[in-house]
């Protein structure tokens, strides 16, 4: 059950939401960059082996 705050509930939840979204977002960003770089490298290596 979610805790109920008497006052400032909106502020508290917003802060915790941002506190979850930012690390998660950075993780997604890092993941995408890593995947794209790996894929690019694999593609270039494959081309090199073919050519």
């Amino acid at each position: 059950m979610l805790p109920v705050f008497e006052q400032n509930a909106g502020f508290i939840w917003t802060i915790y939401a941002i506190g979850a979204v930012v690390p998660a977002g950075l993780f997604v960003y890092a993941l995408i960059r890593a995947r794209m770089a790996k894929r690019r490298l694999d593609r270039l290596q494959a081309e090199r082996e073919q050519g």
């Binding site: 805790p3 508290i12 915790y16 941002i18 930012v22």
Partner: protein, 243 residues
């Protein structure tokens, strides 16, 4: 272990398991700390009621902001002196992460400030102002690297800027402290006023550790992306030179 950070191959082997491990451990500790902050920790009327729960997110992000700038400066110095390519990749990777955490700190601080001080932004708070300046230092670093023509130049320019910024940070902090001590009135809450009881301190410290470990994992991931990117560039260069 140190050699793993000088040698790209060893780094890739190490980070292959270490990066996910850091991300997982960091995430778990973050969840624990948040759970403590939201459910377990009792309300404290002295600190302003429930809103002080914000500190479990805001304070770790502030620590991360400062620590990541120091990391940026340290890796820049290491690269500048020893030219370990990995150090430069670390610096390049830390910058956007540090900027994001700095922004997180400013945002959560602002939202915390509104019900506490009645205003979205308090110019008088020395820490907020220092973090704001640090945000611009990160942005400037990223903008400068992006503007340089070659990767080598980007690394060199970035290193110079990071080191110049680093020696200025204590001065900036000092000057902002003096400035805010003149303008600040006594009603501003001091987080570290009375000694913090363990029920608050432990989740706070764990939260800080959690974000730091997670940050390390993220940095390693971006460094891996950088290593792959540069290997790809080498292949392209070879292709163009016809070998």
């Amino acid at each position: 272990m140190i050699r793993a950070f000088a040698n790209p191959h060893r780094f890739m082997a190490l980070s292959r398991w270490l990066a996910p491990a850091c991300l997982a451990v960091g995430a778990l500790l973050m969840v624990w700390s948040a759970w403590q902050g939201l459910w377990v920790v009792p309300q404290d009327d002295y600190q302003g009621g429930d809103i002080m729960r914000a500190m479990f997110i805001h304070v770790p992000s502030a620590w991360l902001a400062m620590a990541s700038y120091m990391g940026l400066a340290a890796t820049s110095l290491i690269w500048f002196v020893w030219r370990h390519e990995l150090a430069d990749m670390a610096a390049k990777s830390i910058a956007p992460l540090g900027a994001a955490y700095t922004a997180l700190c400013l945002a959560t601080g602002s939202i915390w400030g509104k019900p506490t001080w009645g205003t979205w932004w308090l110019w008088d708070d020395a820490r907020m102002m220092s973090v704001l300046v640090m945000f611009f230092l990160f942005l400037g670093y990223m903008a400068l690297r992006a503007a340089m023509e070659t990767r080598q130049k980007a690394a060199r320019a970035g290193a110079i800027l990071a080191m110049v910024g680093a020696v200025n940070v204590p001065l900036i902090k000092f000057s902002v402290d003096i400035w805010s001590s003149i303008h600040q009135d006594a009603s501003v809450l001091r987080l570290d006023g009375p000694a913090m009881p363990p029920v608050y301190l432990t989740p706070l410290l764990i939260g800080g550790l959690a974000h730091m470990i997670f940050f390390a994992g993220l940095t390693m991931m971006l460094m891996r992306a950088e290593v792959w990117g540069r290997r790809g560039d080498v292949l392209i260069a070879r292709k163009l030179s016809g070998s």
